[in-house]
């Protein structure tokens, strides 16, 4: 397979031209991935760069993100259990090291006096609201910190600045991570825009309707109004919209499906009490990313976040999610949040792949590159992925593992039995977290049996032999559309020994520490 790489002789002088008809690289998508990639390409002065994406970034994940620069805070019992998962985890560790330079570049372009990095530290709390899953993930975080020799210390939860939960939801344990903070996602995106314009990139406030070319070669893009741009390389970085764009030229059954992980968060102005000065969060929770508050600067705080896999990409918010987030922020983080003033409702779609791993690499049609599938830490990984993709576009070697190649079989990290157990654990966690009530005589083991039966039956009906993650299993079980996509894709590999592997599967080249 040959893919065009950029040569200086190919340079097209697009600067100044509002609507170029040619560019060395067209990046589709103006989220964190597309914007950091454009920035890296401009920094390397490798040619003309056009970024296409609507300025409101509606339905995008990056504009809604909490932008915690978290990798240890995100650890779960799954993170280091298999080589493949470890490889994914270490992507986060490498990404962390890229942020000081990324922020240094952006600092002079920030849109206001507010710092882009809003905090450099995190506190992880363990309260009893989140069921057993919280406990095991809390232990997994500490274990990972120790394995990688990262600093942490146990602290008295009452000493965490700003932390003021209701008594019945108070944390019994907490740890302090002095090197894991957060950035202001919206500030970073605005700074990137300014820096890109300054550097000569062209940002088009439009959408791409389709890729131009065939399943053998992609030669450009067609915008929503029919305008064509010819390109040496087209990078699809359109988040949850990426798959459908790729399918405009390359509609094959074994292209990994991505599902919208619709998430909701809100930004509120603190009206009193001691502010949070660090990220304060629970471990990752049932099907989601845990409850957290992220200081935003200027008296603002970000409260997040929900996650539900849905059929349709939209920027709606479920009333249940509003209740969930508001109620639990007040109960579990700061009871004074009740009178904070909500200044922004954030809603966006995480790009969730069927196997949970990102999709980054050249596609079979030459000239077409895909970068998406980052799920819940794509903001954090963006500067690292930008460097990797810029290398590959220039024909140099990449800096991340080849496991993330987009045209792969789904990465197998669990057996069916493991998948069922995990689904049960997540379902129980979600049950208790949301305050669901059962008749007093109904025990947790009866609830366990109920969820186990659901999972077993779902697999029977789907007729697949690949161990799904708990979120995907929940989604497939809940609707016909989702089930069909999951079943159709997995059936293209059915009976293929490479896909279903036992727990401890050793795909990828995760470190051996």
């Amino acid at each position: 397979m040959s893919n065009p790489t950029m040569r200086s002789s190919d340079l097209v002088s697009a600067a100044g031209a509002k609507r170029p008809t040619k560019a060395d690289v067209v990046i589709i998508g103006n989220g964190a991935l597309g914007m950091f990639l454009a920035d890296e390409l401009i920094e390397r002065q490798v040619g003309s760069v056009v970024v296409v994406g609507p300025s409101n970034r509606d339905t995008g994940a990056s504009q809604a993100a909490g932008a915690m620069l978290g990798c240890f805070g995100e650890t779960t019992t799954e993170s280091l259990r298999t080589d493949a998962a470890r490889t994914r985890f270490e992507l986060g560790i490498s990404a962390h090291d890229k942020w000081p330079e990324a922020l240094r570049r952006l600092d002079e372009f920030k849109p206001s006096d507010r710092p882009l990095q809003t905090t450099t530290e995190s506190h992880i709390i363990l309260n009893s609201v989140g069921a057993e899953l919280d406990t095991v993930n809390f232990a997994a975080i500490i274990d990972a910190l120790d394995q990688y020799d990262k600093p942490w210390k146990e602290v008295d939860p009452t000493d965490i600045p700003g932390y003021n939960p209701r008594t019945e939801s108070r944390a019994l344990r907490a740890i302090h991570l002095p090197t894991e903070g957060a950035v202001d996602a919206r500030g970073v995106l605005a700074s990137l825009e300014r820096r890109l314009r300054h550097g000569g990139a062209i940002l088009l406030d439009q959408t791409v309707r389709r890729l131009v070319g065939s399943d053998e070669a992609v030669t450009g893009v067609e915008l929503d109004d029919g305008h064509l741009i010819e390109a040496g390389a087209v990078v699809v970085a359109a988040g949850i919209h990426s798959e459908s764009l790729v399918r405009t030229v390359f509609d094959v059954p074994d292209l990994m499906p991505t599902f919208p992980g619709l998430g909701f968060a809100m930004i509120a102005k603190r009206t009193g009490g001691e502010p949070f000065t660090s990220v304060v969060r629970t471990p990752n929770r049932g099907f989601a990313c845990g409850l957290h508050v992220v200081p935003q600067g200027g008296g603002l705080e970000y409260y997040g976040a929900t996650n539900r896999l849905v059929n349709t990409i939209s920027s709606v918010t479920w009333m249940a999610d509003v209740r969930f987030l508001a109620q639990y922020s007040m109960q579990q983080l700061d009871e004074r949040a009740a009178i904070h003033e909500v200044t922004k409702w954030c809603s966006g779609n995480r790009p969730v792949t069927l196997d949970g791993f990102p999709l980054v690499g050249w596609m079979p049609p030459s000239g077409l590159y895909l970068m998406t599938g980052t799920y819940r830490d794509g903001f954090h990984c963006a500067p690292l992925l930008a460097e990797h993709v810029a290398n590959e576009l220039q024909g140099k070697s990449g800096i991340i593992d080849s496991i993330f190649q987009p045209m792969r079989k789904p990465v197998a990290t669990r057996t069916m039995e493991w998948s069922i157990d995990e689904y049960v654990t997540h379902s129980l966690a979600a049950w208790f977290e949301t305050g669901a009530q059962a008749a007093p005589q109904m025990t947790t083991s009866q609830l366990t049996d109920y969820y186990r039966n659901m999972a077993v039956q779902t697999y029977e009906q789907l007729g697949v032999d690949y161990g799904l993650g708990p979120d995907i299993l929940w989604y497939a079980q809940g609707n016909l559309h989702g089930a069909r996509r999951v079943a159709r894709f997995l059936r293209t590999f059915k009976g293929d020994g490479d896909v279903a592997q036992p727990a401890g599967a050793t795909t990828g080249t995760g470190g051996t520490r």
């Binding site: 789907l462 559309h481 069909r484």
Partner: protein
């Protein structure tokens, strides 16, 4: 009643019988009986949908992926017929 090939309805009947474990009662199943009242759940409906698509080698349109489509042998057969056109 929509005009459809009897063979479609027969095939649908046998898939429904198998999926809902109605063996032995298959003859009593009328074409417009409500399958949801006969014990079909969202999960068994999921399996039924996949087996219908596999058997008839069709892809039901997105708008057909809803409870009402799978209400009875009649409604399923109608959906199959229109997908085959």
């Amino acid at each position: 009643m929509p005009a459809y090939q009897p063979s479609v309805a027969d095939t649908v009947r046998s898939l429904v019988t198998k999926q809902l474990n109605l063996n032995g009662y298959s003859q009593d199943l009328r074409p417009d009986d409500n399958l949801w009242s006969l014990g079909m759940t969202s999960l068994t409906c999921l399996g039924l949908m996949l087996s219908i698509e596999d058997t008839f080698e069709i892809e039901l349109p997105e708008e057909a992926l809803k409870e009402a489509t799978f209400r009875s042998i009649n409604t399923i057969s109608a959906a199959v017929e229109s997908s085959r056109k």
